[in-house]
């Protein structure tokens, strides 16, 4: 049993380091475009959060409902930029020169419909995961233990859903004719038995993210690019494995 565990850990470590090596190879020399895209993304997200904060400011029921709707809209809208960012990373993975305007690929006519649909579904699922905790927090704000438990359950559920559909956006990029529902279904199939591997990869970035926190988020510009590129590289690993 122990032997099996060691082998499993070694295998996870091997996959993680090989994906990271590939990601580093793709990223080196191209950090400028990726970090520029990330900064633009972050600014948009900041504006989005300001809008959410403005709408949900207050304790009335309308503030709560308005806040939740704003979260849904902003998350869906930001998904379009996530598509663009992954497009840049995919072009790096295919040894092509990325350009900053690729960040806006999601707004193109042929992509916008598919991307918005997919991001809306993902945003709705994420919202549904966190909604029980938020409702309890709104109705009975003093019941701290219940709120913490519900938030923890929501986060775990959200992570599971996130891992299941992690390849959705990348599939939309790789297959321009693929519809959003098909991409989500394919992602779920691809991730069957591979969620643990992706989770291991994601968790292995925690030390680097902690360094990013120490540096007031500046180091995170490189870490986030590295993380996303590794996910893209993991997609290629899955695709080649299933071939």
């Amino acid at each position: 049993m122990k032997e099996k565990q060691i082998t499993m850990t070694q295998r996870l470590s091997e996959i993680s380091s090989s994906r990271k090596a590939e990601a580093r190879l793709s990223l080196i020399g191209n950090f400028g475009t990726v970090i520029g895209a990330e900064i633009f993304n972050a600014i948009c997200l900041l504006i989005g959060y300001q809008i959410i904060a403005g709408i949900s400011l207050g304790t009335s029921l309308w503030n709560f409902i308005g806040g939740e709707i704003a979260v849904f809209i902003v998350t869906t809208f930001m998904g379009i930029f996530t598509f663009g960012l992954y497009f840049i990373l995919m072009s790096l993975a295919y040894d092509q020169k990325p350009v900053f305007r690729d960040l806006f690929r999601g707004f193109r006519k042929e992509n916008s419909d598919r991307v918005v649909k997919m991001e809306a579904v993902l945003a709705a699922i994420e919202l549904a995961c966190m909604l029980p905790a938020q409702i309890v927090s709104f109705v009975a704000g003093s019941n701290t233990v219940l709120i913490i438990v519900l938030y923890a359950a929501g986060i775990v559920l959200s992570c599971y859903v996130g891992l299941t559909f992690a390849m959705g956006v990348v599939l939309l990029i790789d297959f321009p004719d693929m519809m959003s529902t098909e991409a989500l279904r394919t992602s779920a199939n691809m991730m069957k038995g591979n969620k643990g591997k992706l989770l291991y990869i994601e968790l292995s970035f925690i030390p680097l993210y902690l360094l990013g926190i120490i540096s007031c988020g500046i180091a995170d510009l490189w870490v986030y690019a590295y993380n996303q590129m590794t996910v893209t590289s993991f997609y290629h690993y899955l695709a080649s494995e299933k071939k």
């Binding site: 090596a21 080196i28 199939n189 691809m190 120490i214 540096s215 299933k242």
Partner: protein, 188 residues
């Protein structure tokens, strides 16, 4: 077998108008290696910078430069798994800078609450610069957060070892008490 294999690597994306760099004198592996070395060098410079700024007692800058240096050192590993000598040195310098900087900050913070002379100096400097002594600021912060920042066991009360009498005109104390409307919130 699976749906996503029917067009992988042979789809519209690959033909999106970009051309691969494929001139005869272009060696991608060599270029990548050189770029990785540049990154490694930058990492080393940042590591050295963080150590230098630590000696100059600039608290914030080493905390920014050192993590960036470590991250760049990790990323500069390129395709081979082994970290280069320069990157390793960068990590060592950055870790030293981070530890030394944290030690300096910790020691200073500790001294400020245990050494009366230093506290007096900090109070007078803060008062000259901001118009409020450090004791005033800590007292206000304690009252605001409800946390005993100076470890004297009383929130909102700063027991400085210094003789901080009414030479500051008592303005800050009065205004502070007036705001909080709390008799316990006295600054000695």
């Amino acid at each position: 077998m699976s749906d996503y294999n029917n067009g992988y690597n042979n789809n519209g994306y690959s033909n999106n108008g970009y051309s691969n760099n494929s001139s005869d004198d272009y060696d991608p592996a060599f270029v990548k290696k050189t770029q990785a070395q540049h990154l490694s060098r930058l990492s080393f410079l940042l590591g050295m910078g963080s150590l230098i700024f630590t000696f100059f007692m600039t608290v914030i800058i080493p905390y920014i430069l050192a993590p960036v240096s470590i991250v760049l050192a990790v990323i500069s590993k390129s395709d081979d798994r082994k970290i280069s000598k320069m990157s390793r040195n960068a990590v060592i310098l950055s870790v030293i800078a981070l530890v030394a900087n944290t030690a300096i900050v910790g020691t200073t913070y500790y001294s400020m609450f245990t050494n009366p002379e230093l506290r007096q100096q900090v109070n007078s400097v803060a008062e000259q610069m901001y118009g409020y002594s450090l004791d005033d600021l800590i007292g206000a912060a304690e009252q605001e957060t409800g946390i005993d920042l100076d470890g004297n066991g009383v929130v909102g009360t700063v027991e400085s070892a210094t003789d901080n009498d009414d030479s500051d005109g008592g303005q800050s104390v009065d205004s502070y008490e007036g705001e909080t409307n709390n008799d316990d919130a006295t600054i000695i």
